[in-house]
């Protein structure tokens, strides 16, 4: 017995390859110690501080989590060979990966565009430098140029140190695609970081946060792990709250077969604050429009972190719950709540992965399939089907943060750019005093909140606080200039991220909220004329 214990103690002293890559034995970050940069209203391009973020690593997923996802439990012995093989496989499946690894000329135009670089000053957070971590390996094993010229061409062997850098820096990318806007070839670092994460999962080193959430999503139907009983109890409690506050019996139905609308919304809307205020907003809109609607207790999540780890398979499997819910509940319309990456997957991927979303599933063809809740509500307002009393929000001076996935990977309405105009039009319909942040920080040039792409985890709060810096500067500037006091959003991750980082920057978290939170306040409930 004593001998075994000794051996175990000795083994703890020796760092395994897995420990080195994931920094498992390094001291954990204390969220309370994280300090925010100073707010000046300016976004400065920093000088490089090499290695500034090298130690900021995500927790690694536990073996049981990895295995539940169908990945090896821990770093496999032949990881170099296995990683190269996986990269080879992905190169035959993704045009984006093949083209983007090949055609970067390192012109440098993306180098000052990433919020994580601007906030952290670490040069490996420059999009091209991040992508080069994978490109090096691609060159070494897959290109003639790399085989002949080696490091002169920027090729490098995948060794333990480089794998550790993958683990660090591909988990400091929120896949927000801001770099891609400014690239002369549209190189999308999100595609590269998805591939790198897929490779890492396949050799047994996955990130804890995303993989744990996905296991819950697959097993229970949402990221929280909220079972149907808890969901129903929470909805009933919310109905009581609305009744108490507004004196109106607004319902939040669950699993109603034959309802006109199936609402797919992020599960954070059932749990967190301020998210739940937007849920109340959706419910009031449906109530006042007189449309029957329902949530599904088994497809109780719009979010789909399968995208963050680049796994088509997991993304499709998670999305299948929604198809099953459509088949079971037989709605005529499919509407998606306030969630950024979910809207990307719903808008751009659902039809491919779980479609066709058409009358074969009983959906009515005259409506967009799926439809964003902002498209739906604004249409009701414009047709006069619901009325908003703007003066109810006169204490609020809102501005709008374009969430990265909505802004750069989707559309609302019929015209390009509707994803910018429709949310703004809806805020303007609900408020009198809308103000706009600096034009270099909004619409397609919007900065990520700093918590997207699976980074919404506390052990990398330093990364998140720094990544939020450009947006915080822009918000600070508009506060100084126009007194803005409400930061309107349509993304669950953005809401969670900003409620966490606002206080770090000395701004009250109460200023963060959804667009439908404003709608909920302004909507006139009661009998229609």
């Amino acid at each position: 017995m004593a001998e075994t214990a000794d051996t175990a103690a000795e083994q703890e002293e020796v760092l395994t390859d897995q420990d080195i890559v994931t920094g498992a034995k390094e001291p954990s970050l204390k969220p309370a110690d994280v300090k925010a940069p100073e707010l000046t209203g300016d976004i400065q391009i920093p000088h490089l501080v090499k290695g500034a973020m090298a130690k900021s690593k995500c927790h690694a997923a536990k073996p049981e989590t990895m295995e539940a996802m169908g990945f090896p439990g821990r770093l496999v012995d032949n990881w170099e060979e296995a990683a190269v093989k996986k990269l080879g496989e992905l190169l035959t499946k993704y045009k984006s990966l093949q083209v983007y690894l090949d055609i970067c000329v390192r012109c440098g135009s993306c180098t000052d565009k990433c919020q994580f670089f601007l906030g952290s000053k670490d040069p490996k957070n420059m999009p091209v430098a991040r992508a080069d971590l994978l490109r090096k390996v691609y060159k070494k094993y897959f290109t003639t140029e790399g085989k002949i010229f080696g490091s002169l061409a920027g090729a490098a062997k995948l060794d333990l140190e480089l794998l550790g850098e993958w683990y660090t820096y591909f988990h400091q990318c929120s896949q927000c695609r801001r770099c891609s806007v400014f690239c002369p070839y549209g190189i999308d670092t999100a595609e590269i970081s998805m591939a790198a994460r897929e490779i890492m999962d396949s050799i047994g080193i996955g990130q804890k946060y995303v993989n744990t959430v996905l296991v819950k999503l697959h097993e229970i139907g949402n990221n929280l792990g909220m079972n149907p009983k808890a969901l129903k109890a929470t909805m009933e409690s919310t109905e009581e709250d609305i009744q108490e506050e507004d004196g109106v019996a607004v319902k939040l139905p669950v699993d109603q077969v034959g309802a006109e609308v199936l609402l797919i919304t992020p599960s954070a809307d059932f749990f967190a604050t301020p998210h739940i205020e937007s849920l109340i907003g959706y419910a009031k809109v449906f109530h006042q429009a007189g449309i029957s609607w329902t949530l599904s207790s088994t497809a109780s999540e719009a979010g789909n972190f399968g995208m963050f780890i680049g796994s088509y398979e997991h993304m499709q499997k998670a999305a299948m719950r929604i198809r099953k819910a459509i088949e079971e509940l037989k709605p005529k319309r499919l509407i998606v709540g306030e969630c950024g990456h979910a809207w990307r997957i719903a808008y751009a991927f659902w039809n491919t992965m779980i479609g066709p979303l058409d009358n074969s599933l009983g959906l009515k063809l005259e409506y967009p399939r799926p439809q964003h809740i902002c498209e739906y509500t604004l249409d009701l307002v414009e047709r006069g089907a619901i009325k908003l009393d703007k003066s109810a929000n006169d204490d609020v001076i809102p501005t709008f943060h374009d969430s990265c996935n909505v802004a750069r990977a989707t559309r609302m309405g019929d015209r390009p750019g509707g994803q910018f105009e429709i949310p703004r039009a809806l805020i303007n319909a609900a408020c009198n005093r809308y103000v706009e942040m600096d034009s270099d920080t909004i619409k397609e040039k919007t900065f990520c909140c700093g918590g997207g792409g699976g980074l919404l985890s506390d052990e990398i709060l330093d990364v998140r606080v720094q990544g939020a810096m450009p947006r915080m500067q822009a918000y600070h500037a508009i506060k100084e200039e126009n007194g803005a006091n409400f930061f309107a959003l349509i993304c669950a991750i953005c809401k969670a991220q900003f409620t966490k980082v606002f206080p770090k920057y000395g701004i009250p978290m109460i200023e963060v909220g959804g667009i439908h939170q404003l709608v909920a306040k302004a909507i006139e409930l009661g009998a229609k004329e």
Partner: protein, 110 residues
């Protein structure tokens, strides 16, 4: 990760949350509160007990709105708000109250 208390070893996850819910007792809660720099008053215990009861029933922590509503019942309307909740647990109900109550850390976009 793990910690020792009164001769017993308690396993925790990377963030310091108790792995086995059933191992929780008031001593564990007191120890964790101390780590978080929180002086447990009666109000703190009320929140922790409610969280635990809710978890037993629903297998998940309550929505923050539900917690606040419950606090309104427990402490009266002037204390049934999120400001008071954050007075009790400055790092937030999920980060601190759930941890001290021995519940797992809430996941997802929260």
């Amino acid at each position: 990760m793990s910690f020792e208390l009164d001769g017993k070893t308690y396993e925790t996850d990377d963030d310091g949350y108790l792995v086995n819910l059933d191992e929780w007792n008031e001593g564990v809660a007191g120890y964790m509160a101390e780590q978080e720099g929180i002086d447990m008053t009666e109000a703190h215990w009320e929140v922790v007990n409610f969280l635990r009861d809710y978890y037993q029933e629903y297998n998940i922590a309550p929505a923050i709105k539900i917690l606040i509503k419950e606090m309104k019942k427990m402490f009266g309307p002037e204390k049934g708000n999120s400001a008071y909740l954050y007075d009790l647990y400055p790092a937030g109900p999920a980060l601190q109250a759930c941890k001290i109550a021995g519940l797992p850390k809430p996941t997802g976009c929260v």
